[in-house]
Symmetry: C2
Subunit: 362 residues, 2 copies
């Protein structure tokens, strides 16, 4: 526990360990959302674009508009994500739903109210227009459900063999209410870590399609818009320190980033983490840790200890938080590190995924 912690720099591309120079080409692992992704960012993006706005960022950028005539201008939040999930249609969703939810969720976990969405499509020559139509209809429904308006778009076409059906980049713009501050830099020893439901559903749903795994019960992606849940949570507990949606890289990446950014340790209690039996089974079969598997409709929250029970109750009252649980706590020991206390009493380090678990999960 006294090992030196790798220097890290949180930013909009994720937490960035110090550059390594052991590869000169892009590898699939660079897209995994774990250490290799962070490495790529640290080598290329942070040195190029580092600026004071960037350095303060989470999954979304919060910036103030220029004011005029002494009137304070509002703060807006911006988030962008490219979606390259394969297959395009999967149990519980499709790339269109994911593209709307993913970007909106990055805004809401920062406390912003999503308002507008822009969508850019990269279509591969030969894509069936019926498939595109289904995806677009799905985006329309997801926007309506989340209360955002799609106001800008673009369509490009690439030659056959230079894409994979369709890639979608969505960018969300929202309002960041005055005085609301949620930051992964703000976790303090004693805080509780909560999760809004079972983990790993999205990743295992995608893997089950790709690997041909069948379950006795239907396992679906958890992709969902988290705005309503977050509003309920902030209503019950305005003192929430931070939230994160543990997508690519899973709970382990999200909590490692939190631990690094806040310079605290995190200790999880294995027995308290909700995992569906079929997800647990698939993970055992595939040699995966559910903590590393992607989620698309779950969030992690950090709460002061005195508010944790009220927050948990508020989460459980919401349909998307029915299985919420307190899964661990923030500790002063081992800053920058996440540990897991197992059911039988052992303790192990939960590190960020070092390569690619499953390419193109989102």
């Amino acid at each position: 526990m006294d090992e030196p912690i790798e220097a890290t720099l949180p930013g909009p591309f994720g937490t960035c360990p110090m550059p390594r120079a052991d590869a000169d080409r892009v590898l699939l692992g660079h897209g995994g959302g774990g250490r290799a992704t962070a490495d790529l960012i640290g080598r290329l993006f942070v040195p190029a674009f580092g600026n004071e706005v960037l350095a303060a960022l989470e999954d979304q950028a919060t910036v103030r508009l220029p004011g005029g005539d002494g009137v304070p201008a509002p703060r807006i939040a911006i988030s962008t994500d490219a979606f390259v999930v394969r297959p395009l249609f999967f149990p519980g969703g499709d790339i269109g739903r994911l593209a709307v939810h993913g970007t909106i969720n990055d805004l809401v976990v920062g406390g912003a109210e999503p308002l507008y969405l822009a969508a850019a499509f990269i279509l591969e020559e030969g894509l069936a227009l019926d498939d595109l139509g289904r995806i677009v209809a799905s985006m329309r429904d997801s926007c309506a459900e989340a209360g955002v308006i799609l106001v800008a778009g673009d369509t490009k076409v690439v030659d056959r063999g230079k894409g994979d059906g369709v890639y979608i980049t969505t960018t969300g713009v929202g309002l960041a209410p005055e005085g609301r501050s949620l930051s992964i830099r703000d976790a303090r020893p004693g805080d509780r870590i909560l999760v809004s439901g079972t983990i790993g559903d999205h990743g295992i749903a995608i893997m089950s399609v790709r690997e041909g795994i069948e379950f006795e019960t239907a396992l679906e992606s958890d992709t969902a818009p988290l705005g309503g849940l977050v509003r309920a949570m902030l209503g019950a507990c305005p003192g929430i320190r931070a939230m994160r949606d543990p997508t690519r890289g899973g709970v382990s990446a999200a909590l490692n980033e939190l631990a690094a950014a806040s310079r605290v340790g995190v200790t999880l209690l294995e027995g308290s983490i909700p995992v569906r039996p079929e997800v647990r089974g698939a993970c055992e079969m595939l040699g995966l840790d559910p903590l590393d598997v992607a989620n698309e409709g779950k969030l992690l929250a950090v709460s002061p200890p005195e508010d944790a029970d009220a927050l948990l109750a508020a989460m459980r009252s919401h349909p998307l938080g029915r299985d919420a649980a307190i899964i661990g706590r923030v500790v002063a020991e081992h800053p920058g590190m996440v540990t897991l206390r197992s059911v039988v009493g052992g303790e192990r380090i939960v590190s960020m995924l070092s390569g690619e678990q499953l390419p193109r999960i989102c």
Copy 2:
């Protein structure tokens, strides 16, 4: 000239003729920025996302933030574009410069002041990190030059053969000053059409690399940020009705969209349109019309007749407008149609490109 005009609907994806049902798969021509692109949009995107914000849109969406406490909230402008240009590096620029300029220019031609940029990268496994580094450095320089801050980003990796090096989607957010209205719906008979310089440079520069054409003098892409030029123009002539950057689809697509949106005709004078001799020569060789060829650092402006000379002088005083010219006028006749009066006196219809001239020009 009395042919019925096709019903059109301007929107953020371009002008949209009525749906045709003659293809069930995405074709390269759907990405050309002309009729086929508009057709795809008309069939799929407009029916799905049609809303009052969308229906009012140009190349950028202008929306008002929700106000509070009786204070009017500012208007912001949002624009998004995916960049899939091939090759990644070309004379005069690269995909990174293009991705910054293209999105910023869509904001400034709507009268907005670009502030923030988000960038999402789709990397192909195997891309040389050195190439990515050059592209990112180029984006950094372009952002600095244009005075915008890159505040949000994302990186995804797709397997080899499912991309083409790198695709970049940029989304720009800017402030839309109160009282400033520039709309392609506002052209009126008698207005003059101005262009800021020689047309077709970007498209021919890309084609020359792809087709192996050599010129005696170096022909470079005109990719450039147009914010400074637009500020100079609005300072000299606040009454400008509309501006457009004639990128994919060229001048012909931009003016056809203007004619349709404003329900006016446009008549161009061929002899007044600035075209470099090498671009003219390459177009003759390739069987292209310079009016159809893409530009990335040029704009078209529509000005009341009494302001046209002052506007032209302001444009010519700016480095990016040195070759500006008045190239035609808005007429009441043939609404929705663009015509060209040739040097020898004939007149022909300038229609929007119907298919794909050159895939992946931007």
